[in-house]
């Protein structure tokens, strides 16, 4: 029996090795800019783009220009660039999915010049405000934007998405600066003065760090300060004060959420639903 299976294996192997060589036929070339940083980027870009006998990609780390050589009867630059974008790299035609970009190693997280900037995002937020669910925003507390950005940071940490957390934290810093203190209620004002310094410092720590562990550390502190504010500030919706007993070697940490369902920002997907609601603030 053994010899038979060997024979079959030999046939199998020889069948599968037939298509391993030969050059690209009907070759055409194109040059395109692909955004990236380092040697590692080069390897990923080229591996994603290359297909045996169909497409070959050479990317220049200095100029960011890639030369695509491809069999024009079988494929086109768009197909190649799409594969590269799905590996995390933007080009003129395609933007990489955000979650794929976020998973690139830190040294590869190039500057996404082609992504629309945050201004448009602010416009987006504004646009959403027009929808009925958020009309309350107009007459809500001055602190509303602070809470909103805090929740965005929390959501990013739930997703273990350091770049987004950092970007949202930068916006939080701006929002803190924009609070008009004379419009706060007395209780809010007192609490605000108490936490202001720490709040700014922690938001900055999240925004300047690219290390998710450091961000989470700062976020834990940030959460305590936001909790102080939430207790005195009137919110349109209930806010859930939640607790993870595990964080920081069992010391535990808290956070605020708009939903009762637990989505743990300190561990993300590792243990998403671990934790519990300890208080509902209305």
């Amino acid at each position: 029996m053994k010899s038979i299976s060997k024979l079959v294996m030999v046939i199998a192997v020889s069948l599968s090795s037939i298509n391993s060589f030969a050059q690209i036929k009907d070759a055409e070339t194109a040059t395109v800019t692909i955004y990236g940083n380092c040697e590692m980027c080069k390897a990923t870009i080229e591996e994603a783009g290359n297909v045996k006998r169909e497409a070959n990609v050479q990317w220049d780390q200095k100029t960011k220009v890639a030369t695509l050589t491809y069999n024009s009867g079988k494929t086109d630059p768009d197909e190649i660039l799409k594969r590269i974008a799905l590996a995390g790299y933007d080009s003129e035609n395609f933007l990489a999915p955000d979650d794929v970009y976020a998973k690139l190693p830190e040294c590869c997280q190039y500057n996404r010049a082609l992504k629309p900037t945050g201004q448009a995002e602010a416009a987006h937020a504004h646009h959403q405000a027009a929808s009925p669910a958020n009309t309350a925003v107009e007459n809500a507390s001055q602190l509303q934007p602070v809470f909103d950005y805090y929740f965005s940071i929390k959501d990013a940490l739930v997703k273990t998405d350091a770049p987004t957390a950092s970007a949202k934290a930068a916006e939080l810093v701006a929002a803190i600066g924009a609070v008009e203190m004379d419009k706060l209620t007395t209780a809010e004002h007192t609490a605000w003065m108490n936490v202001l310094k720490g709040l700014t410092a922690n938001a900055e720590r999240v925004s300047t760090s690219k290390d998710i562990a450091k961000q989470r550390e700062a976020f834990a502190a940030l959460s305590t300060q936001l909790y102080e504010l939430a207790k005195v500030s009137k919110q349109d919706i209930a806010v859930y004060h939640q607790h993870c007993p595990m964080y920081s070697n069992g010391k535990g940490a808290n956070w605020l959420s708009k939903e009762n369902a637990v989505k743990n920002p300190y561990y993300g997907a590792q243990m998403l639903t671990c934790g519990e609601t300890v208080e509902i603030i209305k």
């Binding site: 199998a12 999915p97 989505k263």
Partner: protein, 757 residues
């Protein structure tokens, strides 16, 4: 690229026909469409193949009406075969429903046939052929009924949005008739193409050997979430499309677009996701629902959803991606102007996690055990164990122990929405904006169906009966039918009711949603109800076309309807029953160095007529033919009694004779024998066969075919009490060709080419 030539031709033809089918508006608002059904050639996946086009196009043209119109649709059958058109989800007189042999006679080649009915509802629906394998090769199209502007249910901000119809479908270069045969013969070519063989070598590599053995011990073949491999997924007939303008307006930041999405696929469910953020679901199966925001939804075969998407930024085109449930194929639609923002593809399924889950659920007798979870409404998706985006990558263990959570007993362990931060739509989230309760004084008829199936032989049924084994179910006009469905099979089924919308009973009380398709997952129990106030014979069936053709259907006969097109209703019903239990044929032969080995089989849902032969190249090796006619018994069809006929010739020396294990002797060169026996499938999928011949000779044998060693390598063996034995290895090259090496006690060692049809 020569596909374009074809399209040019098609375009020219379509332009011509467009003149003919532009809706003509009369005073009484009759909206007329002329549909020319004809053969065409397409090239969707690298090969020129036959397809069916209507007015020169695939999908068929979008038919648009406004509530209150009268539809007049004239079908010109230019095919060489009969056809029909069914108006999926549309309320109409039974004779216009478009089911050949049930509501009308098939439209014959060359015939012109007119469907005419008033439009008394609104919403996103679709239409398709209900004949043979025609829907698979192009006969699907959108059917949109608009609300009147003065409609009381008109929703500002939703019903006034620009709309775009999206018809989802799949394409395979294989003939659908062939696919049907391969499914029935448990051909695993599709699994090979998808990388879903789940063989022993793959199991060992992933440390899942035990899982695989348990699976085979429970007599299961490797399973996938779907069982057909497609070469291309299409949205409106294209694999990638761009939407830059709607109604002449260029799309810009902040714009919202309403998609009217229909799944015209033959057997594929699609995940729908959007790179521009959350989507808002505003209707399902043509019925409004309270807007609900989701990250993704799965659209079952033949369902429709209306989904609103927003363009968050200018200068970017956001990808709307439809991915098959098995995640092997997808189609993209880019919405907006500028650089294309992609969404990440769904990661590959963790098949062995799925196998483990099936092992837990499957009892030794083939019933499913929900372990007290009371599953319903798609809330618990057992398949989440296979979704890396929700339950982590394969091999990654999530440690919950310190939090005092026991993963194995957590009630939420299959609830995607509790497990991850991704919001997935389910039926519990659908809520009608209106009160949908049925009249309190109407009599209620309660029905219960268990959905049953047998993966190995691809028999799909209800209460273990296929259509050809059941009569129509009589229903009084004006009765409420309340139907409870329990899915005791291993696959999900999109159950569709013709002619009515039903309420899906969920926690929304008076506002239970209205639909005409309900997807039901394995082990789920769901209840639907509707008022049977329209007379006629209404089809109720699984919309996975290969399940429908296998017999997973029923007919509700409401009132005593006289159909002018079907004077002899009994005869017509017989024809329908026949069509849903067509025999399928398989033949296989191995041309080997030491002889020919082969078999041929003709089977339907219950009967099997099979012949096996072993033909040596000389008389010493012998010639042998065995024929069995058997009937499969029981839901799992593990037991098959049969009558057999054997003929064999073998030149034996003078003193030679064969003695079996029981000391019985056979001394003749030629032997003709009639036998009675049975075959039983043992754990590990080993077939045990016992046979008694008319001369008293007994033969017992054990055999197993198609043991999946590696992705393409299969092994088999046979041993019997005549002291014959055989072992084989087969390497699969294409769906029809394999290389086979075997050792046979009669014929010795041989190698050769195995061909299968």
């Amino acid at each position: 690229m020569n596909r374009y030539k074809n399209i040019c031709l098609k375009l020219a033809q379509a332009a011509l026909l467009l003149l003919l089918c532009t809706p003509a508006l009369f005073a009484q608002k009759v909206v007329r469409y002329d549909l020319y059904v004809s053969d065409t050639l397409v090239n969707y996946a690298g090969k020129e193949k036959r397809a069916i086009a209507v007015n020169g196009q695939i999908p068929m043209p979008t038919l648009t009406f406004t509530e209150g119109d009268t539809a007049e649709i004239v079908v010109h059958n230019q095919l060489n075969e009969s056809t029909s058109l069914h108006w999926h989800g549309v309320f109409l007189p039974n004779k216009e429903d478009g089911v050949p042999h049930l509501t009308q006679q098939p439209i014959k080649p060359g015939e012109t046939y007119t469907y005419r009915f008033p439009i008394i509802q609104h919403g996103t629906h679709w239409y398709h052929s209900h004949s043979g394998f025609q829907e698979q090769i192009g006969m699907y199209g959108n059917f949109v009924m608009k609300k009147r502007d003065e409609d009381k249910t008109f929703r500002k901000g939703i019903d006034d949005l620009p709309t775009v119809p999206l018809m989802l479908s799949e394409w395979t270069n294989l003939n659908p008739n062939n696919i049907n045969r391969m499914l029935h013969n448990a051909n695993d070519w599709a699994a090979i193409k998808k990388g879903a063989t789940q063989s022993y070598v793959e199991a060992i590599r992933e440390g899942q050997f035990h899982t695989k053995v348990t699976n085979e011990w429970k007599r299961m073949l490797a399973m996938d979430v779907s069982d057909v491999y497609y070469d291309k997924i299409l949205i409106n007939g294209e694999n990638a499309l761009e939407l830059k303008t709607v109604d002449g307006q260029t799309l810009k930041a902040g714009d919202r677009v309403r998609f009217r999405i229909s799944n015209g696929g033959a057997s594929s469910y699609f995940w729908l996701r959007y790179a521009g953020g959350k989507m808002t679901v505003v209707a399902s199966d043509g019925n409004d629902v309270e807007p609900v925001e989701v990250d993704r939804l799965i659209i079952a075969v033949s369902e429709t959803y209306d989904v609103v998407v927003t363009i968050p930024e200018g200068g970017v085109a956001y990808e709307f991606l439809a991915t098959t449930e098995d995640r092997t194929q997808s189609a993209s639609y880019f919405i907006g102007n500028g650089i294309k923002q992609l969404i990440s593809p769904l990661p590959r399924l963790k098949y062995f996690e799925g196998m483990k889950m099936m092992n837990d659920m499957m009892k030794m007798n083939g019933d499913l055990d929900d372990m007290g979870m009371n599953m319903s409404l798609n809330r618990m998706d057992m398949n989440v164990v296979m979704y890396p985006e929700i339950t982590g990558e394969a091999g990654e263990k999530v440690d919950h122990s310190k939090h005092g959570m026991d993963t194995n007993n957590d009630a939420n362990r299959y609830d995607a929405n509790a497990l991850g931060d991704i919001v997935t739509l389910n039926y519990a989230m659908l809520k009608s904006p209106h009160n949908t309760t049925l009249p309190k004084d109407a009599p209620v008829k309660e029905l219960k169906f268990t959905l049953t199936g047998n993966m190995n032989r691809y028999v799909w049924s209800m209460d273990n009966k296929i259509l050809s084994e059941t009569d129509k179910i009589p229903v009084k006009k004006g009765e409420i039918l309340r139907i409870t469905l329990y899915n005791n099979s291993m696959m999900r089924h999109p159950m569709h009711l013709h002619g009515f919308d039903f309420r899906i009973i969920n926690d929304q009380g008076e506002n239970a949603p209205l639909k005409n398709v309900m997807d039901i997952m394995p082990m789920e129990t769901n209840t639907i109800e509707f008022l049977a106030n329209e007379e006629g014979d209404w089809f109720f069936h699984c919309h996975i076309l290969y399940h429908m053709m296998a017999g997973m259907n029923r007919v509700f006969a409401v009132g005593d309807y006289q159909n002018p097109y079907l004077p002899d209703k009994a005869k017509a019903y017989n024809a329908l029953q026949m069509e849903s239990n067509m025999p399928h044929f398989m033949i296989q032969n191995d041309f080997a160095t030491n002889g020919n080995d082969g078999e041929a089989m003709l089977q339907n849902a219950r009967w099997s007529l099979g012949t096996e032969w072993r033909l040596g190249y000389n008389a010493m090796h012998g010639y042998e033919i065995e024929t069995h006619l058997g009937r499969f018994i029981g839901k799992m069809q593990w037991f098959m009694p049969f009558v057999g006929f054997d003929w064999r010739y073998r030149k034996m020396g003078i003193d030679e004779h064969e003695t079996n294990l029981f000391g019985q002797k056979n001394e003749k060169d030629t032997r003709r024998a009639v036998s009675l026996g049975f075959m039983y499938t043992l754990p590990m999928l080993v077939n045990f066969q016992a046979e008694v011949y008319h001369d008293g000779i007994v033969r017992l044998s054990l055999m197993r075919e198609d043991i999946p060693i590696s992705k393409r390598l299969r092994a088999g063996f046979m041993a019997n009490t005549d002291l014959e034995y055989m072992g084989e290895l087969r390497y699969i090259i294409t769906k029809n060709i394999g290389i086979r090496a075997h050792y046979d006690s009669d014929m010795g060692f041989g190698g050769g080419l195995a061909l299968t049809y």
